[in-house]
Symmetry: C2
Subunit: 248 residues, 2 copies
DNA sequence: TCTATAAAATGACATGGATCAAGTGTCATA
DNA sequence: TATGACACTTGATCCATGTCATTTTATAGA
């Protein structure tokens, strides 16, 4: 009996169950009962690890399920034939991505790690099946999908209507609030991505990112040292995007 | 008996059932059996009509369900506080929109008619409930959501990486293929939206749209007369976007 | 038919960011 | 600690596109 318990413990440990995962309140299981969470848990592939700049999938790959970041970070992107990357999103611990493959069972974009990264896969077939019996999970999934869409829509507003200044300010505030949401400092953090990736996300040139960081610093809004960001004057930063989004 | 039949007929007619709707193969019921379609049908609100430039919803409104265009056209958009519109999508007959409200039960964007428009509403609660028992419907909804995401992602690539020429060419080809999909000519059609809206969708100025249309015409690619578009040289138009998207 | 109003086109000019070309800093490995 | 590779910064220049002003065309209503 003791032996069995130990095996269960071990299995739980290896599996890094949702229940024991510090990110479960941010991730898909959010809002599920312990019982429901454990059912979901049984279907999740145990964490996989990848080093920096490793590819998770690329266009044409079979869509197998949703991805959840445990640690590290991932970028998803499309490319022009000439090679330029349009980065669609940065995905930080606790966040789920790779939902767009649902259209036809094939991936449409690239997914690459920003640094050493650990992630889980939630197999789509099983998630779909569980949705039949767990209305709350269905609700979670729909909420997640809606959230993704709204993120994309804000991103469209940014790319279509904002100046380079506004874009970078919006970006910093966005990252800041996501760190805050995970319980970290919203004003002092390390960017997990390169200048090149920031540029690719914001639809501007790398050089512009450099110059704007310098300009923000000269205005006393932030202090930037390589990837370390310290927001000195959050109000000023907020003011820079004040005209960008309707708040209700 | 005859009377009852007539009532049923009348009711069906008023309701403009999915089964009798010429767009059902393009719309959400696509792929459902007749029986399943009729179940879905019973929960769909009969078509409503709106004249041009009428608002369907705005940010903050309660999210009640998905919208399906029967005739006419709808734009969804976000705005900056300064008033500029970033148009997120144009929605033509047979297309479903308004899915982003799923995140928190509130609309996040504006939806306005481009012309006299008829549309159906698929109440979310009931759709959710039906998804429990009709796996095929669940599959349809997920496919639809995936499609929306991929549309948004292509739009992000367009806004982030394409020149004004490429954007307008991509736009024309996109509209063209959607007309084709509905069984209309892909090379001769009327644009349902204004220059202003095209500009708002492509993230460029109205004047640029005018100038580029003229330039395209001078190159013998299209003939444009107000809202009437005739694509003369589809190859040339395709070449303009050849470097924009990876095709697999 | 005339008039008012809005939509679209056109022209002149200005500029935000891209591009190109060096330079500098940082990190990993020998 | 040297060396190479790469990320980042900085400066100079240019151009695609925005902005502003005006004209033309289409549309709706009296």
């Amino acid at each position: 009996m003791q032996k069995i318990m130990n095996q269960v413990q071990l299995s739980k440990q290896l599996k890094v169950s949702c229940e024991s995962c510090s990110l479960s309140e941010l991730c898909l299981p959010r809002g599920l009962s312990t019982k429901e969470m454990n059912i979901l848990d049984d279907h999740i592939e145990r964490p996989r690890n990848l080093s920096q700049n490793a590819q998770l999938y690329q266009p044409g790959d079979k869509f197998t399920g949703f991805y959840a970041v445990r640690s590290g970070g991932v970028k998803t992107y499309l490319t022009k034939k000439t090679g330029e990357q349009q980065i669609l999103g940065f995905h930080l611990p606790g966040e789920v991505f790779g939902l767009d493959g649902m259209e036809n069972g094939k991936q449409r974009c690239y997914a690459t790690t920003l640094e050493n990264t650990s992630y889980c896969i939630l197999p789509y077939d099983q998630l779909d099946h569980l949705c039949e019996t767990i209305p709350e999970l269905r609700h979670q999934v729909c909420q997640l999908l809606g959230h993704e869409m709204n993120c994309d829509h804000s991103h469209l507003l940014l790319l279509g209507q904002q100046t380079a200044h506004e874009r970078l300010a919006t970006f910093l505030l966005n990252i800041s609030s996501r760190f805050k949401h995970r319980g970290f400092s919203p004003t002092s953090f390390m960017l997990p991505m390169s200048r090149h990736d920031i540029a690719g996300f914001l639809g501007i040139a790398v050089e512009t990112v450099s110059r704007l960081f310098k300009s923000f610093q000269e205005k006393g809004i932030v202090i930037i040292n390589r990837k370390q960001v310290d927001i000195i004057n959050l109000d000023k930063l907020n003011n820079m995007v004040a005209n960008c989004e309707e708040t209700d």
